[in-house]
Symmetry: C2
Subunit: 227 residues, 2 copies
């Protein structure tokens, strides 16, 4: 049925990503992945060295992709605040497009990145460094105030990853124990993260012109959207 070159590999990778996201590395059996991919278990060992090899391959692609997007944004000619917004948008759209990313990232964080070889760690560091470049540029241009890059990094990344990654538990809790809580639109959440970031970064900057005054768009924050 399925014969295209590299197709098998991709099917396995896709199935594995979802499975690893849902149940973690050791919680996922190779048989499960094989079944989900539509192929046999032996194919996994044919295309990848072993279970960990498959897992690391996924991690690498995740961080590589994020790193290249971050580099594109940092290299662009957008003004720094727009770069920050683009950075957040990119992160969120990746999380939305590839729902396996947030859980996998959360698990790796919790695990202390023991599965990450030096090359993959470099990819992670690259993402951070691109954010740092944006911050430095904004500072040099006088549109950002000084901000610790690590602190900023976590403040931007964590809400997106957490919100997207916690989607299943969020809806489960909403249905059973918090039925009166209005569902949160992901776009509203992202808009909120963006406007928060911009305001924090631009407030008190040395430079005169704040190229994009922090206004709220969307109805993230409107009278009466409390519970």
């Amino acid at each position: 049925m399925k014969k295209a070159p590299g197709r098998t590999r991709d099917a396995i990778l896709a199935a594995a990503a979802s499975a690893f996201a849902a149940r973690g590395f050791s919680g996922t059996s190779v048989d499960t992945i094989a079944a989900a991919s539509g192929f046999n278990k032996a194919m996994i060992y044919y295309h990848f060295r072993n279970k960990k090899g498959l897992y690391v391959e996924i991690l690498r692609s995740v961080f590589r992709f994020m790193g290249s997007r971050a580099a594109d944004i940092a290299d662009s000619d957008l003004p720094p605040p727009a770069k920050i917004e683009a950075f957040i948008d990119a992160l969120d759209s990746m999380a939305a497009t590839r729902p396996y990313m947030p859980p996998i990232m959360m698990r790796e964080m919790a695990e202390g990145a023991v599965h990450l070889d030096s090359g993959t760690l470099r990819l992670m560091a690259a993402i951070f460094n691109n954010l740092r470049r944006i911050l430095d540029e904004g500072l040099a241009k006088g549109v950002f105030r000084p901000a610790h890059p690590v602190l900023t990094y976590f403040t931007l990344i964590s809400p997106i990853i957490f919100f997207r990654g916690a989607a299943p538990i969020r809806v489960a809790l909403g249905k059973t124990h918090l039925p009166d809580v209005r569902v949160v639109d992901p776009a509203a959440f992202v808009a909120n993260v963006k406007s928060t970031a911009i305001t924090v970064l631009t407030a008190g900057a040395t430079g005169a012109r704040s190229p994009r005054p922090p206004r709220r768009r969307g109805r993230t924050n409107r009278p009466g959207d409390h519970a």
Copy 2:
């Protein structure tokens, strides 16, 4: 050597919490926990039903503790902004005192809370509801603007959990790939989360008197980090 009543149980719980945090539920073997606790594997099955029973016991204690702290704060007579700060402080001090908490929470989020029975989910919901009470009180008193509780919840929780939970990878990355990055003081990070939260919540509130004008302490944050 160790004979005090309930001491064995506690030793097992402590060893299990660390192990589960580091390697997850299925990544941790019962033998490992037994060895770390100083007891034998059979003792685990004597004191707890099975591996999952032990795990759920830990989850329950975590959420119960957080829930009771949150309730205390919500019930206190502090002004709402101080309650928010106390809420954040409590969360962070729990994460600092019990380093196993952030990783376990991150893993449970990623897993969609499949290990959580209805009772434990109620405990989680209780934490959220206490935050919501604080927000409602602030709104009623005119010191907070309307804010969606879920959005606020994630914005407060995720940076703390992420930052504390990612401590191992943070230092590892810092040493190997980002040697020039200044180490972030957890206290500075928490201060930043607090001042951001307060400013966001109080900005544009209807009420006249803001019982605690959002001033920043520490140098994490300065003029106008609202949004």
